[in-house]
Amino acid sequence: MSLFPKEWSFLNDAWKFALVLTGREADATALVSGALSAVSKRADLHESERIRRVFFSVLCREGAKAAVTENPETPAEQATHFLHQLPEPSRQAITLLCLGAFSGEHLAELLGKSEPELARCLDEARTVLKQHLSPRS
């Protein structure tokens, strides 16, 4: 059950995304908190969908600055470490796609890519993921 107000229910996905970007739970919380602060200062944001999009844009921008970490500690860090190790922009693309946070079209827009470019990023990510995941076929 979400602990967040209804209009902020996307923070669950946002935190998971931040965890993939930073590799650390504490850093993920700090990243999401920073994005909340950034969004709260924007007087031009009123519509909830736009707030969500800007919020994830801030996460993408700030999260891309985080260094890749080694030695994940908590179970959540360990579970997502294979995603954390992906290169950008494939990491952001595959994580947001698999969180179901945005449609493919909106994801391309968010990441500033055309749909064919996004498809290439995702295929690159999947190529790497194949080595880490052994999906049931």
Binding site: L3, F4, P5, E7, W8, L11, N12, W15, K16, L19, E25, A28, T29, V32, S33, L36, S37, V39, S40, A43, D44, H46, A76, A79, T80, F82, L83, I94, T95, L97, C98, L99, G100, S103, G104, E105, L107, A108, E115, P116, L118, A119, L122, D123, R126, L129, K130, L133, S134, P135, R136, S137
Partner: protein, 249 residues
């Protein structure tokens, strides 16, 4: 959609089936190319595994609590944001409101001081009446209320300062099926007309003031509203003549 385009389209779709028509069409198109279909099925399996991993991650309760409080505080502060005057929606509402005020002001105040067109029609009809069309009366104009009641015209009223004029003739005629009482006053060759303005859509603003107009090149009319009835004086002459006559009283 050809198989290659379908493959590219499906590469950026969430792995769970959405049931959308586009995805169904793309899957059908992909079915024509076994290689691409196989690649797509591998993609689905891989993406679903990643979805499953992410679904299993839980945000730690302390972090959720901290972020939840921060979000709630932003939401609470955001309620004030709705009144930001720079918000385009608020700006549109404000402009709409100002336009509404302007239209209402134009409607109610803009017509002030204007002699109503409908009243001018009544004045013209009254001025056309010939002497033989009146019934002879021999009373002062202020004493003819009962006479008009008998003729079916209620609420006949002449302002006090015009009540002393001797009337020579009186009658009721109809404009738009509404009765208009008219008196022929020998002094100054005047007509007094009394009618209910509401059914005719006539309003004299400001109430109690006189409005003047000239018509048919030789007549002048002055009208005022009093106690819900209009009283109109028509003379042969100009508005200035009529204004002088009214000021005299």
């Amino acid at each position: 959609m050809n198989p290659k385009a379908a493959r590219q389209f499906l590469a950026i779709q969430f792995p769970e089936p959405s049931g959308s028509r586009e995805i169904s069409k793309a899957r059908d198109a992909l079915a024509k190319s076994p290689d691409l279909l196989e690649g797509y099925e591998a993609q689905i399996a891989l993406d679903k595994a990643a979805v499953s991993v992410l679904a299993g991650v839980e945000i730690p309760p302390p972090a959720a609590g901290t972020l939840g409080e921060q979000a709630a505080a932003i939401s609470a502060a955001g309620s004030g944001r709705r009144f930001n005057p720079r918000d385009p929606a608020m700006l549109a509402v404000a402009i709409g409101f100002l336009l509404l005020v302007a239209v209402l002001a134009w409607h109610f105040l803009g017509r002030a001081g204007v002699f109503p067109e409908e009243a001018l029609t009544i004045a013209a009809e009254g001025a056309k009446l010939r002497a033989e069309q009146f019934e002879v009366v021999e009373d002062k104009s202020g004493a003819l209320e009962d006479w008009f009641v008998l003729k079916g015209f209620d609420r006949f009223h002449v302002p006090e300062k015009f009540a002393g004029y001797q009337a020579a003739g009186a009658r009721v005629f109809k404009i738009e099926n509404r009765p208009v009482a008219v008196l022929a006053i020998p002094e100054n060759y005047m007509f007094f007309l009394v009618f209910d303005p509401a059914p005719l859509g006539i309003k004299i603003r400001p109430q109690g003031s006189w409005q003047f107009a000239e018509f048919d090149y030789k007549y002048a009319a002055a009208i005022r509203e009093e106690n819900g009835m209009c009283f109109m004086v028509v003379i042969k002459g100009t508005s200035k003549d009529l204004a002088r006559l009214i000021e005299k009283h």
